[in-house]
């Protein structure tokens, strides 16, 4: 190897060393920065400095491998040429113009080519004139100074951090730690026993409780949990359930003892307390103050009252975990109907337990006097029991029971389930009269032996008229109709063909054999929806009694009168249930609304009419002309039509037939417009759709 090439090779190796060292420094600085970052963020990785070399080594290897492609081997001609070029660049720094002789010579030497003597001399001079030592020093400084400076800064910061920790630890270690009755200096004494005291919130009026050395304590939300122990203050962190971050708790140190407080919430919290290498957990189970539990035991169900009077017993059971302060029954009275309602709220049996007189469980009793509420028919009363506890929050929920509703029935309504006895029907009046009639008839029966027949007959006819009046009154309530009409007598004359489930058989009413469906399918007459069978029996018995009385035979009238009375009584005693009316059910025809439904009719398609051929057009003109002459010259018009008919007989028989109808109409006199129009349509082969009830009609 020539001396020149040897010198260039030395410079190349020096530069390569600079680059390698720079990469190592970069890796080390990165490792230090990582170490510092871990320390700042509080990650305790144990032996921190053991990690550093490994990280630095790994980073260096990664760096070298990643840059292997860029590292030029000294033996490569390009690498030596670049080094020669770098040497010549240093001459520029020394204010000497470069002549690139050195680079050319090195390239030739590296390629194994002989270098001309003159070129070799110039190259050697360039090599000697280059300030290589200074240039290499500058390269080293430029390459190394920043990573070294960064690494040193990281080291200093780490040292400062380590010093702070050491100082803190030393302060803890030299603190005086009392144990029991004696106090002696100790270094980070392990955490010992503690005492837990729970102070409930003031509103609860509950006493404070000291639990001693426990790991788990239950506390009402808002309670103050005081944890205390002996020795220096430990490190305490508080973590709520499901929370990611812990909250530092400042422990207060007082002479020989420490303590910190935790405010119990409505969810559990964990206090992590550590000192001297010992860590303990205290779980504070906070639970919310529950709202009072209220149950309404009486009345046990909703109800409907016939009249707004009566007494309703009320009983409610109230309980609370802390203590009750107030309880009462609450009534909401709603009056009105349709779109107009008025509401008033009433509180009944209000009770309160202030301060220390609070109780946890009680019963509310009372009697609701409906008459005092001034209720009207249709009014609704909602009743519930309400209780409050002592929680001071303005938005505190109160406890309430389920609600019972009472409704006062309207006189005209029949659409609600009535669990109370229904109002007595009007037939009650008849019952009294029937009883009186029976008594009068029995009296007449006993007296008829000493009366003349005419007298008996006159008295009997009087009773018969009263019996007939009662019978008609009963007949009014035998049948209940959908429209509200109830007369059984209104149209039941014999043979009137007016059958809607009832027919007259010799004056009596009898169920039709056509059954109920026949009744409901009747036309304009309102269908019968219910039949009072006992009253039907009473009606017929009254008819028998009336007939006997009309015949002047009161004795024979007594048995049917008794049957009638018994039937009325059965009717009165029957239980009645009024069912709520069903709301109207409207079924929307979706297909119709969307215009996608099936149509059973056929739509008449309208298309352009074909033009008449020449012959038909001529006939059409002649027909129109004849029609226009009808009013002015009837005979001429008739002749024209007749001629036209004759011509059409051969090739257009339908048109000829239509013209025959025209001629017949003209002979009859009157308006012949329709037949002329029809003839013209036949000529033009125009099909018309018949007018039907279905608006779109069908093609004939």
């Amino acid at each position: 190897m020539s001396p020149l090439l040897s010198q260039v090779l030395q410079v190349h190796r020096a530069l390569h060393t600079v680059r390698v060292v720079r990469r190592i420094l970069h890796a080390t600085a990165a490792a230090l920065a990582l170490q510092l970052l871990l320390r700042i963020t509080g990650w305790d990785v144990g032996a921190s400095f053991a990690v550093l070399p490994a990280v630095a080594l790994g980073a260096t290897v990664w760096w070298l491998l990643g840059n292997r492609g860029h590292a030029s081997r000294p033996s490569e001609p390009d690498a030596l040429a670049r080094t020669a070029l770098w040497v010549e660049e240093q001459r520029v720094a020394a204010r000497t113009a470069p002549d690139f002789a050195l680079t050319t010579a090195v390239e030739m030497l590296a390629a194994g080519t002989a270098v001309p003597h003159a070129l070799a001399l110039v190259a050697a001079r360039a090599m000697q004139e280059s300030p290589l030592d200074a240039a290499l020093w500058r390269a080293r400084r430029a390459a190394w100074q920043w990573p070294v400076l960064f690494g040193v800064t990281c080291l200093m910061l780490m040292r400062v951090s380590a010093a702070d920790r050491t100082q803190e630890g030393a302060a803890v270690a030299t603190r005086t730690v009392p144990t029991g009755d004696t106090a002696r200096p100790t270094a980070t004494a392990p955490l010992g026993a503690w005492s837990v005291r729970v102070v409930p919130p003031a509103y609860s009026a509950l006493p404070a409780v000291t639990h001693g050395d426990v790991n788990n304590v239950s506390a009402l939300s808002g309670s103050t949990v005081v944890v205390s122990g002996a020795g220096p203050a430990p490190h305490a962190e508080l973590t709520a359930v499901n929370a990611k971050r812990a909250t530092m708790v400042a422990a207060r140190e007082d002479a020989s003892r420490w303590q910190f407080t935790v405010l119990a919430g409505s969810a559990p919290q964990t206090a992590r307390v550590s000192r001297g290498g010992t860590t303990r957990l205290l779980i504070v189970e906070g639970h919310a103050d529950s709202v009072p539990r209220v149950s309404l035991d009486a009345p046990a169900r909703d109800s409907v009252f016939r009249e707004p009077r009566g007494a309703v017993p009320m009983l409610a059971t109230v309980q609370d975990d802390i203590g009750l302060t107030r309880a009462h029954f609450e009534l909401i009275v709603t009056s009105g109907e349709g779109e107009r309602f008025t509401v008033r709220t009433l509180l009944l049996r209000e009770r309160s337990w202030p301060g220390s007189a609070r109780i946890r469980s009680t019963e509310l009793r009372g009697v609701l006097d409906l008459a005092t509420l001034g209720l009207q028919a249709g009014d609704v009363v909602h009743l519930r029991a309400v209780a409050r506890d002592a929680h001071p929050s303005a938005s505190r929920e109160f406890g309430s029971s389920e609600t019972r509703a009472f409704r006062i029935a309207r006189p005209t309504e029949y659409d609600s389930v009535a669990v109370e006895p229904a109002p007595p029907p009007e037939v009650d009046k008849s019952m009294l009269s029937q009883r009186m009639l029976l008594m009068l008839t029995e009296k007449l029966d006993k007296a008829q032996k000493r009366l003349v027949h005419a007298e008996v007959l006159r008295e009997s006819l009087k009773l018969a008229r009263d019996q007939t009046r009662l019978r008609l009154a009963v007949g009014d309530v035998v049948f209940q109709r959908l429209s509200g009409e109830s007369s059984a007598e209104h149209a039941h004359s014999a043979g009137d063909g007016h059958d809607h489930g009832v027919e007259l058989q010799g004056g009596k009413l009898a169920m039709s054999t056509s059954s109920t469906t026949g009744m409901l399918e009747e036309g304009n007459d309102s269908p019968v929806v219910a039949i009072n069978q006992p009253l039907l029996e009473a009606y017929n018995a009254m008819w028998d009694a009336g007939r006997a009385l009309e015949q002047g035979n009161p004795h024979a009238a007594i048995p049917p009168m008794k049957r009638a009375l018994e039937a009325i009584e059965r009717s009165r005693a029957a239980s009645r249930i009024y069912l709520r009316g069903k709301p109207p059910q409207v079924i929307v025809d979706i297909g119709k609304v969307r215009l996608t439904g099936k149509d059973t009719g056929q739509v008449t398609l309208r298309s352009a009419r074909a033009a008449l051929d020449a012959r038909a057009a001529d006939r059409d003109t002649r027909l129109v002309r004849a029609a226009s002459q009808v009013t002015t010259n009837t005979m001429a018009a008739r002749d024209s039509v007749a001629l036209l008919r004759v011509e059409a007989l051969g090739d257009a028989p339908a048109f000829a037939a239509a013209l025959s109808r025209v001629l017949a109409a003209m002979d009859r006199g009157g308006d012949a417009t329709d037949v002329f129009v029809e003839a013209r349509r036949v000529l033009g082969n125009v099909l018309r759709t018949r007018t039907t009830s279905w608006s779109r009609g069908v093609v004939p």
């Binding site: 909703d302 909401i332 709603t334 009105g336 779109e339 309602f341 509401v343 609704v380 909602h382 519930r384 929920e397 389920e402 609600t403 509703a405 709301p583 109207p584 059910q585 409207v586 079924i587 929307v588 025809d589 979706i590 609304v593 969307r594």
Partner: protein, 205 residues
């Protein structure tokens, strides 16, 4: 049909007159059929609020004049219904903020679903199908001086996770929409269009 048709469900609660607007379901069903392509059942259903059958219906309509007091069972079922994604549309048939229905229904809803808060008139509910630039459409009953004699500018709602769970109206749509759908032809503008928005919102959000 790929999907079960939408069924309009009216909530039947034990207290009060839950059936005070019997024609509203048919009217809204008619509107859904008229304006949308949603598969819809031609007849609504009445479902007891204390029954788990409510879980079959994505939207419940609740109205009345009288006080609303949910039974324990009703409150529990309704709470589950709302948590499972159901939507409750409550309309005050009294249109009276001082009325029994408004006071008691709000109290019950607060217990079951949380407090009702004003719903901004820019809420997507007002653009879910038809666009109502000024929020909920005013009803004729509001302007006629019924009830509290107020025109309520906003609806109230319980919104959770960006979705309306309970929509509360004092505007008395129950009166406004309670007519036979055949009579829509007498209206220049169909006043039930907002009901379509409510249904579409309940089905798509």
């Amino acid at each position: 049909m790929l999907y079960a048709p939408f069924v309009f469900a009216t909530a039947q609660y034990e207290s009060g007159d839950w059936d005070s607007a019997p024609l509203v379901p048919a009217n809204l069903i008619d509107s859904l059929a008229r304006y949308t392509s949603l598969p819809v059942r031609p007849q609504g259903v009445t479902v007891p609020l204390g029954s788990e059958a409510v879980f079959q219906y994505p939207l419940l309509y609740l109205t009345g004049h009288l006080p609303v007091r949910f039974t324990a069972r009703e409150a529990e079922v309704l709470k589950q219904y709302l948590e499972r994604g159901g939507m409750l549309f409550v309309d005050d048939h009294n249109h009276d903020v001082d009325g029994a229905f408004n006071k008691t229904a709000r109290e019950e809803i607060r217990r079951v679903a949380g407090p009702l808060l004003p719903l901004p008139n820019t809420h997507e509910l007002y653009r879910s199908f038809f666009v109502f630039e000024n929020g909920p459409p005013t009803t004729s009953h509001e302007m006629n001086g019924w009830g509290d004699n107020l025109v309520h500018e906003q609806l109230d709602a319980v919104v959770k996770d960006g979705r309306i769970r309970v929509l509360f109206s004092n505007k008395d749509y129950s009166s406004e929409w309670s007519f036979h759908p055949d009579n829509k032809r007498f209206l220049s503008v169909d006043n039930t269009r907002f009901g379509v928005n409510i249904v579409v919102y309940a089905l798509t959000r």
